[in-house]
């Protein structure tokens, strides 16, 4: 999924935007295609950069930032109407980690414009339509990090390759139904022979209460069956061991609801506005858990139910300035049976595989950000993460996210 590219290729990819700058015409409507680049950098003060959430097998991009200075997701996005019938978008993150630059394809999809009757079909690699934040790129989130439930259950975002069909009902009340058939091989799914075992369904509805306030409610469902899922096994500091943490012959499903309420005096968001947002997910998964370290193994059958929610409020109290508060909570209820000790005892297995639940992890975050224009934002955030296992982790982040090029989209 991650492929390294040479500096030359990167320069080639960016040369279009350089050219655009010299001719001086960059805008989403006038310039074809619209190019935007997100610059994300941060300074983090953190007790431990290793994310451990007992009871949750982590995958995907779940993690914590490094201590000190780091660059986040610097993101290149190119989009345009391809012709009168199709729209296309490519977003990739350029990540510098451990002395290496990696080019990650986040999204690359096409979408129909002319099916009519409320139908749209999207194909390619895309952020699934489930949940509320899942489809929104990290730089457009209201906090410096993703809600814990997204990291714990989806490895950051549910992003996969396949086809999505959406339909908007011809009603006054907004009703949007969507279905996706995807590979199902991305976390929390896993490798499957057919490469089409993932299914996602979602419904979104919403409207205006009056000129000042609007709401949206969503419900979603995801499922996948897989032969093998590799989870990121955690390593004790300094130990040079090869650990394999796998779930075999597994199936997973996630059901969730999300709610958003927005308010602005007279609906004029420029000076003041408030946003309340909450999401809740339940994940059920089962399979044969296998943990291998050097020549020692442990096996068990596993059936788990993990839930998580977050609730957050963000208030823009004057132009350019916002404050936000978020509370995250997770809970894991895992049943382990038929344990087989192959050199690793059950306690060690539970800890190393991530399947042994302890107290409920939770996190509280408070943030203040300043956006002098549509295109720049500087944010200060403090979070306290209690993973239910060790001491609490205090995280202070000072971050900038800035965009150059095409004007960003004002998603609800």
């Amino acid at each position: 999924m991650k492929l390294k590219i040479t500096l030359a290729a990167l320069i080639a990819a960016l040369s279009t935007s350089t050219h655009a700058k010299t001719t001086g015409k960059i805008s989403g409507t006038e310039f074809n295609p619209a190019i935007s680049f997100i610059l994300d950098g941060r300074y983090t003060d953190i007790d431990s950069s290793e994310l451990e959430l007992p009871g949750f097998q982590l995958g995907g991009e779940a993690g914590l930032p490094e201590n000190g200075f780091s660059t986040g997701h610097n993101e290149l996005s190119i989009s345009a109407n391809i012709d009168d019938k199709f729209y296309g978008l490519m977003t990739s993150a350029i990540v510098f980690e451990g002395g290496e630059t990696e080019f990650e394809l986040e999204e690359a999809y096409i979408e129909t414009l002319k099916l009519g009757s409320g139908f749209t079909i999207k194909g390619g690699r895309f952020f699934s339509g489930i949940g509320y934040l899942n489809g929104i790129h990290d730089h457009a989130h209201d906090f410096a990090d993703r809600p814990l439930v997204y990291d714990a259950l989806f490895g950051g975002h549910l992003v996969d390759t396949g086809v999505q069909a959406r339909w908007v009902a011809p009603t006054d009340l907004f009703i949007n139904l969507g279905a996706e058939v995807i590979t199902g091989s991305e976390f929390p799914g896993g490798e499957n022979e057919d490469g089409n075992k993932g299914l996602a369904l979602f419904i979104k509805t919403g409207g205006d209460i009056n000129a000042s306030s609007s709401w949206q409610f969503g419900a979603s469902f995801y499922q996948s069956e897989f032969d093998v899922r590799e989870a990121g096994g955690h390593h004790h500091g300094g130990e040079e061991t090869e650990a394999d943490n796998e779930l075999l012959n597994g199936e997973v499903d996630v059901t969730g609801i999300d709610f958003i309420y927005k308010w602005a005096p007279d609906g004029n968001r420029k000076n003041k506005n408030f946003k309340l947002q909450a999401e809740y997910f339940v994940k059920n998964e089962e399979g044969d858990a296998e943990f291998t370290e050097d020549s020692n193994t442990a096996e068990a059958s596993y059936d788990g139910e993990q839930t998580g929610f977050y609730i957050q409020g963000v208030y823009q109290f004057m132009p350019a300035w916002r404050v936000g508060l978020r509370y995250d909570h997770l809970e894991a209820d895992n049943i382990i049976a038929d344990f087989v000790n192959g050199g690793i005892d059950e306690d060690e297995f539970l800890e190393e595989s991530g399947l042994g639940a302890e107290d409920d992890p939770n996190k509280t975050s408070i943030m203040l950000d300043y956006s002098p224009s549509h295109f720049s934002r500087i944010r200060l955030q403090y979070s306290q993460l209690d993973n239910g296992h060790e001491d609490t982790n205090d995280i202070v982040t000072l971050q900038y996210t800035m965009s150059l090029g095409a004007h960003g989209a004002h998603t609800f």
Partner: protein
Amino acid sequence: MKLLTPTLGLILFLLASPASAVVKVFACEPEWKALVETLGGEYVKASSATTAFQDPHYIEARPSLIAKTRRADLIVCTGAELEVGWLPLLLRQSGNSAIQKNELGYFLAADQVERIEVPENLDRSQGDLHASGNPHVHWGPYRLLTIAKALSDRLQKLDAKHVAQYRQRYQAFATKWKKQISKWESQAAELKGKKVIVYHKNWSYLLNWLGIEMVGNLEPKPGLPPTSAHLANLLELTRSTEISYIMTTNFQNDKGARWLSEKTDIPILSLPYTVGGDKKASDLISLYDGVISALTNYQ
């Protein structure tokens, strides 16, 4: 579960009312809703995505707007990047093929006329610039007439059954509007050469037309809120230049304007920017009437 989507879809489809005869119009701003209602009368049913109290640049593609674009036969928006943050998103999410770019159901007012203040050099250090020039075209009365003609033509193409009625309505509007223009021009003749400070350049077409000179902006750069350093510069300016008034609209934060006004005794005119902006501004003519009277009364 797999059958859920099509089944629900079918039910909702059957419940939906059959296509009615009127042209359903999604206007991005109240001025275009007013214009299309004047030109279409009973043959159109229009709604506006924004009110006169909202900055059209800051709207989000919220659920109710997607639901409205889904059912629209025609969208009438300003263009010139005023709605760049949300209109493209609405179009893509609507699943409505009739209103996509360059279709008959896609009408941008600013595309019909020449824009002023087209930036020579596009650089965001100059603020949130519109590459295609000043989008606030409804304050140019001659431009508005051109837009009305193009919009009427569009209605005639979309709804061929009522061509005669649309033509007649346009003629009636054009005659009345031209008469109004000469009335407003003589009423505002005395304003020629006056100097004003504005909050944002949304009055440029009006000021150009009436020969009023805009000598300052409360925004240091388009789209950016006033800063104290910038206000101090404006205060300096008022010492060397005689300024008749500070023009703001009622959706703009007037803190900076009030500060400057208190320091200098220059009156603030908080004006309705568009139809619905105050009690009197019920259509385009009464909107113009109100604003021009406010300008002339403050002599």
